[in-house]
């Protein structure tokens, strides 16, 4: 209760000024060497000059900026609190309406995803970008199980993405396995790696776990880079076979028939692009259904309860080891499946594609989307893939734009774009069995 009480006593003007003065002091200390003093070349020798007015302006800017920022944040916080309190007071109506809207949005997104390649059947760029979005959706949903539901901070999700991709690349190039047969095997391989990460880190939580997973991600990447015999080292693996349409390849001509010849179509490279799009759409829909189902089963509720309070879970008789490992394994498997698709789509993979940067983006998608929210992950994936694309015109400012957008989202919605959590269980009217 204490944070609420504290927040109700809004800071007085004097307190605000004191806070801002502190920041101004830091600005002054930093500013003296950086702004206040400068050097100039005068007649061959270096002279130290002072720029006090500029420094003064800098300190004043820091003071006013801090005042404005603090004030803005306080206002935001207060508004949010009033809203929360009102919502808590009458939970019924608003909840039901917002769930309706979310459901509608979900179906709308599904509809758009379904017809998108038909509408843009001659625009390779659009379909390609949409495919990328879907890969991230799939990765986000996988990580969402670990981070959003089970509350285990995982900074190395790209490792499982890499395991899936390399598993498929090796199975297909070395042993001639097809896409659909390799898919479950690669997924299971990634799950085993998930257990390998989960087992030693069972006792860790929060930041400690984050560091271990970060290290795990790097280990996988470094092994792939250096174990040249297995993975081709930094050169990666190329000529990975593309998925076929029930055995019909997407090529201009072939002895055994091609997709185009079988259906009496004229060959077009777009066929493969669109086919790939539908493959990842199918995979991600399956993922969505699976995760949604699991959330309503005891195991899913156990993940969420573990996120909320591990000790309470133990006291209720849950075997935390199994709960944790199952979350790691499932998240890893989904990441692995996304990796298989990635390898098949690119036809070439190297350790470059599985850096920490990738893990960070996937985590950002989960956090920005609103931890645990399936639809939130979709929206965040769209934002995070499209922003850098739209930002291409800004060249080197692109990443700056990207960062600023992330900060804005977190200030505007600290719980993520969709922080609404749908209950896994509804109260049933009397008489009915739950």
């Amino acid at each position: 209760m204490s944070p609420l009480v504290f927040a109700n006593n809004a800071p007085t003007l004097a307190e605000r000024c004191k806070d801002a003065a502190g920041i101004a002091l830091i600005a002054l200390l930093l500013g003296i060497p950086m702004i206040g003093l400068t050097t100039a070349d005068q007649g061959g020798s270096l002279q130290v000059l002072t720029r006090w007015p500029l420094l003064g302006a800098f300190v004043a800017a820091a003071f006013c900026g801090r005042l404005a920022l603090r004030y803005g944040l306080d206002m935001l916080k207060q508004r949010r609190q009033t809203r929360d309190r009102e919502a808590a007071a009458r939970p019924g109506k608003r909840g039901v309406r917002s769930i309706r809207i979310l459901e509608l949005t979900g179906w709308l997104a599904f509809g758009i995803a379904l017809v998108l390649p038909i509408l843009f059947s001659d625009n390779r760029y659009v379909v390609d970008t949409a495919t990328t979005v879907l890969i991230y959706v799939m990765l986000g949903w996988g990580l969402n199980v670990v981070v959003g539901l089970a509350g285990l901070l995982d900074l190395g999700h790209a490792a499982f993405y890499a395991v899936g991709a390399y598993a498929y690349a090796l199975l297909s190039t070395q042993f001639g396995w097809g896409f659909w047969t390799a898919l479950p095997v690669a997924g299971l391989t990634a799950a085993v790696f998930g257990l390998a990460l989960g087992w030693p880190s069972l006792r860790l939580r929060g930041d400690y776990l984050a560091i271990v997973t970060l290290g795990f991600g790097e280990i996988i990447r470094v092994v792939l880079t250096n174990w040249t015999d297995l993975s081709g080292g930094p050169n990666g693996i190329s000529s990975i076979p593309r998925p076929t349409f029930f055995g019909l390849p997407f090529v201009p001509s072939s002895d055994t028939g091609t997709f185009a010849s079988f259906f009496g179509l004229e060959f077009s490279p777009m066929h493969r692009i669109i086919f790939l799009y539908y493959v990842i759409l199918l995979l991600s829909l399956l993922t969505n259904v699976l995760v949604k189902r699991l959330r309503r089963l005891p195991i899913g509720r156990a993940w969420e309860a573990m996120r909320e309070d591990e000790i309470a879970c133990k006291a209720l008789g849950m075997n935390i080891t199994n709960v944790k490992l199952s979350a790691f394994a499932l998240g890893a498997m989904l990441g692995g499946v996304a990796g298989v698709f990635f390898a098949a789509r690119q036809g070439f993979i190297s350790p470059e594609s599985f850096t920490f940067n990738e893990s960070a983006i996937i985590l950002a998608i989960v956090v920005l989307g609103g931890m645990g929210s399936q639809l939130g992950v979709v929206l965040a994936s769209v934002v995070l893939v499209l922003l850098p694309e739209l930002g291409r015109d800004f060249a080197e400012y692109r990443m700056l734009l990207f960062g600023a957008a992330m900060i804005l989202i977190m200030v505007w919605r600290p719980g993520g774009i969709l922080s609404h959590r749908e209950p896994t269980l509804r109260h049933q009217p009397a008489g009915e069995q739950a």
Partner: protein
């Protein structure tokens, strides 16, 4: 005999938190354990669940030696804990919290057990779809007790259920304890700093100091004892 601890020791690193505890709870009893902050009361409860593991001594529950069993296995016996600080699942709804209490129970009983909880705590039924974290402190404590009861325990362990609650809620909690014991035959081990209320509600009591039991007797005798009055009631009473 429902629960018997004999010569139980427990350590946190080099802190010797329990120093040879002997304590027993008979079937149908309400037993309270009182003592100052840091005496080791919570440690004693948690050590029943193997957190921390006892370093010496024996714990027998319902004629079974549970001293070395894994935590989740102990928790699946007919013993339920309402931990210190309630530890409800704040972002899950009240209904989901209740259901988590029954994760290990027979799902066929869920509906009947929910009904029993609504009868015990009508306020919970009104808040079923509300996030548990938005309940008031007293409501959260009721939820924590109800969640523990969902597992149909024979022995209920309560760790300072009245801590930080408004007087009205404290009354309600102790009323519930009495009701559970008298009407439903529940055996209860109650840890409290609120010695006045606890000793009045209990058949027997133990006083704990620095990891040791220093006194034991009926609730009435302890209430009357000069030592207990001086240490836990005068002043303590006024605050409660």
């Amino acid at each position: 005999m429902m629960l018997q601890l004999s010569g139980v020791h427990a350590h946190y690193g080099h802190i010797h938190a329990l120093r040879g505890i002997d304590l027993s709870v008979q079937v149908g009893e309400v037993v309270t354990l009182i003592g100052a902050n840091g005496a080791g009361k919570s440690t004693l409860l948690m050590s029943l669940f193997g957190q921390p593991r006892v370093s010496a001594g024996r714990i027998v529950f319902d004629n079974e030696d549970i001293t070395r069993l894994p935590t989740h296995v102990i928790a699946r016996r007919d013993i339920s804990l309402v931990p210190e600080g309630r530890r409800i699942f704040p972002r899950m709804t009240v209904l989901e919290n209740l259901q988590m209490g029954a994760v290990m129970a027979d799902p066929d009983n869920l509906h009947v057990d929910l009904k029993r909880m609504y009868a015990l705590f009508p306020i919970l039924e009104e808040r079923l779809e509300q996030r548990a974290g938005t309940l008031s402190g007293g409501e959260q404590q009721m939820l924590a007790i109800a969640r523990a009861l969902m597992a149909r325990p024979k022995l209920l362990l309560l760790d300072e259920p009245s801590l930080g609650l408004a007087p009205l809620y404290i009354k309600k909690i102790f009323q519930t304890i009495r009701e559970l014991n008298e009407d439903h035959g529940m055996t209860i081990l109650l840890i409290e700093q609120n010695a006045h209320h606890a000793l009045r509600a209990a058949h027997r009591g133990y006083v704990m100091q620095h990891g040791q039991i220093t006194m034991t007797g009926t609730g009435r005798d302890l209430l009357a004892s000069a030592e207990v009055r001086a240490a836990y009631l005068e002043g303590g009473h006024a605050a409660a």
